[in-house]
């Protein structure tokens, strides 16, 4: 086999992995187009219509990049309406769909500040690690893991055909990197609750043992509090908050996170 061909292939594969990531969906590419009905309504100050348009579009959208944009815009509309907790919920969902969008992060922090909540990025070491840890979405982690696996394959091929210390070292590095990414993926998949919601009622929301307004309140969740969705009935959500299971009025919450 031609040795030069193999090495060049390996080099090109490395370069392609580096440059092709954005094109593979790791970073959304902005496009210029005519404004949507939501944008037109937003620019004219009709935030309710803009929200209705974007909420409708959100229901029909599955792509994370597009969902992130729609959620960002929904957050902006809520912010302009003065519903800062709703804006916080929208931006929180948006950054989970597009964790590297600095604009959305900035808006989230401003909305949290206006809502009287603690900053999402507290600026300490733990917050920085958490931010780094969540900088990639799960599908992106998967893609990256397989990319690393491809590089490992090339290294192993070179080692089988030519031997040599360099190929062996590279193979070990890529193997470790691949296993680390797979472990991170597994950790996040296990520790991220599937369905969450945020309390958007400014006065907080009441938790009851059953979906009945006449029953006593067993827990009060402050505005901006995150709860885990367990079940739902029309108008009601069964949630877990601070370890307590109960029912909360649906209209007082907004779903957050990736679907």
């Amino acid at each position: 086999m031609n040795c030069r061909f193999l090495w060049k292939s390996l080099l090109w594969a490395l370069l392609c992995m580096g440059f092709a990531a954005p094109g593979l969906g790791l970073e959304a590419t902005p496009e210029a187009q005519t404004p949507s009905a939501g944008q037109v309504a937003y620019r004219s100050g009709d935030y309710a219509s803009a929200k209705a348009h974007w909420a409708g579009a959100l229901e029909q959208t599955t792509g994370s990049a597009r969902r992130g944009e729609l959620l960002h815009n929904l957050g902006n509309a809520a912010f302009r309406e003065g519903n800062f907790l709703e804006a916080v919920a929208r931006y929180t969902s948006a950054v989970e769909h597009a964790p590297r969008q600095s604009d959305t992060w900035a808006n989230l922090e401003l909305a949290r500040s206006r809502a009287g909540l603690e900053a999402a990025d507290r600026g300490d070491l733990a917050a920085t690690v958490e931010r780094l840890y969540s900088i990639l979405r799960l599908p992106e982690l998967e893609l990256l893991s397989f990319g690393v696996l491809a590089l490992l394959g090339l290294c192993l091929l070179g080692e089988a055909l030519r031997g040599g210390r360099l190929t062996r070292c590279l193979a070990v590095i890529f193997l470790g990197l691949g296993l680390g990414l797979a472990a991170l993926h597994t950790w996040r998949a296990v520790h991220t609750p599937a369905q969450r919601a945020m309390v958007t009622a400014s006065g907080g929301a009441a938790l009851r043992s059953e979906p009945n307004l006449d029953l006593p309140v067993i827990l009060r969740v402050d505005g901006g509090g995150i709860i885990e969705r367990v079940d739902s009935l029309p108008g009601w959500l069964r949630v877990r908050a601070d370890g307590t299971l109960g029912w909360i009025e649906d209209m007082q919450t907004l779903e957050i996170g990736q679907d």
Partner: protein
Amino acid sequence: MTKVPLGALALLVALIFGAAASAAAQDPPRVSVQLNTGLAKLGETVGILVHMEGTTEGSIGDLPDVPGLSIGPIPGGRTSRQATSINGRMSVQSSISWTIPVRASAEGEYVIPPFLVSAAGNDYETNPMPLRVKEDLAGAELGIVRVKITPKKVVLGQPFDVEVSFGWDTAVRKLNHADLSLPWWGQIPGAIEMEGSGRRELGKSYTSVLLNSRSQIEVTREGAGSIRGRSFEMFSLRRSYLATSPGLIEFPASHLKFGQMLGGGFLDPAREGDMYYTKAEPVSLVVGTLPETGRPRDYLDAVGSITARAEIDRREVNAGDSIKLRVEWTGQGNLEFFALPDATHLDGMENINFYGVTDELKERNRRVSVFDFAPLSESVKELPSIPLVVYNPETEAYERVVTQPMPIRVHALEGTGSLDVEELPELEEDIRDLRSEIPASPSRGGDGLEPDPHFLRKFGGALALLGAAWAGLRVAVRRNGDPATPGNRRRRAAHRNLRRALRRSDSASARQQAFGAFLSARSGEGEGAWIGRDLQPILVAYPAMAKVALAMAELDSAVWSSGSGHQASDGELLALARTVESLDLEVAANTLQGESR
């Protein structure tokens, strides 16, 4: 010297104090209260002497109120304690005494009614004390004191002057003491002293006199003047006040005491010699209120007769540059107290920024205000006039004092017409704009990046597959030997090394060495094995080597002919090398070695 035992000394002290204590315990205190004189001159201060003997514990009750007499205040008591020995018997005398000042404001027969004094816990009532006050005719003849208030009537917020002029006949020779008694000094209800009042004026001579028997005050020497046809040496004292509440301000009678003070040395205590007294009649001032009718809304408490004069520090400015308008307020009025007009709301302030005003009372009757403006456009042709509403007590009307508008010339800044007149809005954090939407279309409904629930399984499978493939391939490859041996690595690097050597070579010999090294690396032999080798034995089996033999021969002859003659180019040598790479040179070399043996 005889030593006195300590015990005997202590006994002596005990006896002394014991005797004193017993004396004090036995004798009740003696109290005497009396005037130091029954006849006083008008303006003279006499004293009620209160003396308590045999105690130091005493007090004086409420002093009586006698019309025409000013009694008090009660000074602090003077105490004394004295031990005496008479015929070997020790006694201690203790006492306390007061001198309460009494001054009459008019001639007459007065009686100071009884009042209570307390000594060692016992109350005593004083006897009535008659006092006759006669005008000091000599003092009234030889001296003069007058209090003059101008104007006679003022309104609230209007300043007024109080002038005390006093003097004495120059014929009085023995005169070294003057005491001006002004009971209203420093405590005029409804008026405050104005800043700068009493300041020294240039060209005037000053001296000091005693004021209210307590402190020295500087007065102006007015020089000699003619009073009642006699020559008087005159002095004056002026102060300006501002009326702060309506009503009547009264100035009680003032007195002047002058004459000769004797003694005053260390061994000769001061005492009065010939003293003269003269009096000024009480005066009063009516303070009226400002009229409500006709009062403009922009009235800022200015009262008096005030004029204004304006000037600017320059006539030509660039747009946005500062220009200062200096307004000088002068006249008789409450210059110190009125508020300045708000320049931001003046007429003609369009395209002019107002930065502020500095303000200073230069003299008693002169106040200077410097307004800092910045015209923003060349359309500004003048600085506006500054109006001030003043209540003039003379005309009893509100008047508007206005400065002249100041014509100026404003040059536009280069490249700009004018500065933005509007104030810049405050910076405030805001959300970032909408994100451009990816159009919702079936083809772009999703970005294909959704979490794979079987990721771990796929990842593990791919990893296992890679491992198996690598192991199988490795075993297969190494059946023909380890590709990582030095010989194999040298063989693989032979072509690259040939290219580099040819690039560096500058002679036929170097090129021959490079090509020979290439052939040696491919055949696994030592360097130089192919130089000068006869290739005829392998040409039948390896016809492609004929070109190699020819090239080597040409290089050999070029070496021996110092580079002359034809030799294969670098490209031809590299092409030959490609051809050789497809041959098994190790076998060819073995053949050649066998032939040579």
